[in-house]
Subunit: 356 residues, 3 copies
């Protein structure tokens, strides 16, 4: 943070100060006052805007923003410009400066219910109507918003945030700087049954836990089941979008991106830096290597080697899927051509005195 | 409401009164007493039933209902009948009459937690264990059931209903006559990250809001993310079923229907009177025109012109999809025919002295 | 339970006692002390492990477990072994013995809110910050964890468990030994609207209920809508995984398995012992016979006869789907072959003096 600067709605920074703060190269008038960040088309006087995707460059000349963040390869501009190799990252940092998070004051709200043996770190905030079970541990500066549930013996690290109405069942470990959004359920029972002699399902007790490593973010209404034995694990820096299902004993690597409504079945292992696009599904007990990309709505039914890029249900390599997507709509016409060809060949055969 | 009539279980109306109330034409004995509404096959003595879908007409003669709502084009019936162009709408109104909603008494339950500066309209109900953040505004006659969360500065209009365990994060605006079902999360952070120099994801602060217009209904466990900047918007009269995902900066038009488990990715615009069927997905940054219909489980990967009807993943025009659905299962047999044909052509070529 | 045995972390059983308890045949040293249950590869000294899936037999020789549960047909082993026809079921029972569920003490937490006329059976536990509406009935030994909502007049049977933040709306009946996981919503309004004369949607009041029969288990963040009239019904022993959507008036049979993220549309009937795999969808108003299996991500658009096994969207018989999955990726190459063949046939036709 810039020393002496107070966060809030009245923030105002000269562009040259911002250039220094964001590590950007300044082009044009550095004395321009920036008061807010806005999108290219919504921006007005006093706003800083940005272009991270080249297809928006065409709107650059029309923007009413006072300044703009561009990459060094973007064309020169008449208005003040900040140049950086990563405009999107500079945009993220600018947002952090202009819209600092207002965090609840430390302390335990009188309506919260803490069972015996709860350990609270320094400057922890426990919101109204939140429940923390016996022996749970909440690390320094972590925030539990109102109406959160943390079960007995669970551990939350430092600087983590649990938004309203998160459920963390017993025996779950959550690392540092983790963010969990409202309605997410961590540590629900895995879905496991054994058929008994009468063909009825008997529940397999789910006695394992969940381990969420540092810097993970978990979306709204996500479900992460506890392991049958051992741990379900989400690796450091992995980001999970809303309404995702992670079944028992799944192991997810680091810096992996899981888009909304993806489902990952039991005991599957997903590597590092993987991207699972929206509504994709992965069956149980398979292994997805590092750096794989699984397209939206795809269904992965077997192991994927590191670096695979797949699409479709069942998922196939992307280049093959794209060829199929072009050719499959032609199948009705192919069927006609084939019929026609069969007739012509038959005529030729008859003309040549029957099949050889 | 019919003057002097008390809602409740002991309601009893003559069919002629009901005809007038529902704006239907009466055929047969108007003195019949109606005490309840029931399905065609479940109805008995004293029940009013209806047929909105012609394929159920075959059951009409068997029903034990005392009276029935039909369209003018349906065949004549021996039992008392109410005729209307829109039997389903008359059925809806009859349900409203016989099953009036019992709303909680106005007032704030002593176990609710309201921060400073909360503004409550007239006859507002705040249920037990509900939390309302500082500066939030709840409009006249709106109902917050128990265990609801409304964040700081959020605004709820008049006559709106938030069912138990709804989460409305800070800075969300909700209109009049809006209904939000249990477990829905409105205003969770959008899913946005910028890669830093080390290949790790840095969170883009999500500092925008959500705008829910009048008469919207939002299903159970739906997630609607707040915008990065600006607003995520749901237009007037749009109805959203359970477990739907609406990403940041999505703009939905008016009178649109979004069936269960649909996912709409970031910044996509959906027009008016669109229907998105169950489990469909729409990628980010595309535009779906007015009056489009997207079939169930479809995947929309590009813009759709107004009035498009598409199916499949990737989605293609419906007529093409239907032809494909018929022809694709024949591909294995086509493959055989093709092999066979190749052999026959080769024979012909050999017989005619080799290829020309 | 073995008499005189205290559940807890210090449990220790001789293998011969366990053999008797689990109904297994003992091979080898029955004096071995078992202190925990563990997976094949994670197990160590003092652990009992198991093999239910033959493909894991290859790891049997390497396990460091002190004893192992196998089926009679598995090869003989040098270490102490328990033999049973159903190793997975024996594993489930062993987990029950070594990891007994710690249930909250009976009683009503002082922060819970119970409206007038609530009836509580014997030894019921009502957790902190839980709300029970007027006239609701909670059966003997049932457990409502903290922050649960049970609406007016709803009934919960005996020995049932509602995990934290479950919502049970008014007028829902839940049987005995039912388990409902966090975030599940039972009894939200069905998704039904009638178009009025102006093309706007008018809500159909959803005045029916939900009936959950005995021994059902319902996953985290599942949504089960109440019926328009009558009941949405989940049959005895059916198990529902996380994030599943059950629409209004759906009828599900007994001992059916519904994997995560499945959606079942309104008024559809699903038989007994059906398996609906992950992310499958079923349209409204169809009937799925007993013992059907619907593959993951499949879309069922019509009735299915008992015993059907289907895959794909739209769903087709499994054997046909598998043939298609092999042949469809060959369509691009077929298209080329077809073109090539057309040219060759044209040449032959020209050589033979034109088409006959």
């Amino acid at each position: 943070m810039i020393p002496g600067l107070e966060p809030g709605e009245d923030m105002e920074l000269k562009l040259k100060e911002l250039a220094q703060e964001l590590g950007c190269e300044l082009e044009g008038n550095g004395e321009v006052e920036i008061r807010a960040i806005a999108g290219l088309r919504e921006a007005g006087e006093g706003d800083l805007t940005f272009v991270a995707n080249p297809r928006y460059l065409k709107y650059v000349e029309e923007t009413r923003a006072s300044a703009i963040i561009l990459s060094p390869s973007d064309p020169p501009l008449s208005k003040p410009t900040l140049r950086t190799d990563n405009p999107y990252l500079a945009f993220a940092r600018a947002l952090e400066i202009f819209y600092p998070v207002s965090r609840p004051a430390p302390g335990v709200h009188p309506s919260a219910v803490l069972e015996e043996g709860v350990e609270l770190g320094q400057e922890v905030s426990i919101g109204a109507l939140t429940f923390v079970g016996r022996g749970a541990h909440i690390g320094d500066r972590s925030i539990l918003f109102p109406q959160v549930f943390v079960g007995a013996g669970s551990q939350i690290g430092e600087d983590s945030i649990l938004y309203p109405q998160v459920t963390v069942r017993e025996g779950v470990r959550i690392g540092n700087r983790v963010i969990v959004h409202s309605g997410a359920v961590i540590g629900s029972d895995g879905f496991g049954y054994a058929k008994d002699g009468q063909g009825r399902y008997r529940k397999i007790p789910q006695v394992g836990g969940v381990m969420i490593e540092d810097e993970v973010e978990i979306g709204a209404n996500v479900t992460i089941d506890r392991a049958t034995l051992g741990d379900t694990r989400i690796g450091r820096g992995t980001k999970i979008d809303n309404l995702v299902q992670i079944a028992h004993n799944v192991q997810i690597g680091e810096d992996t991106i899981i888009i909304s409504q993806v489902g990952i079945a039991g005991s599957t292992r997903v590597g590092n830096r993987v991207i699972l696009a929206g509504q994709a599904g992965v069956v149980d007990h398979v292994q997805i290597g590092d750096d794989c990309i699984v397209g939206s709505q795809s269904g992965v039914a077997g192991d994927l080697e590191a670096g695979s890029v797949v699409l479709g249900s069942p998922a196939i390599p992307q280049h093959l899927f794209k060829r199929m997507a072009v050719s499959l709509p032609r199948v009705p016409e192919m069927l006609k051509s084939l019929r026609n060809l069969e007739r012509r060949v038959q005529s030729l055969e008859e003309a040549s005195g029957g099949r050889p």
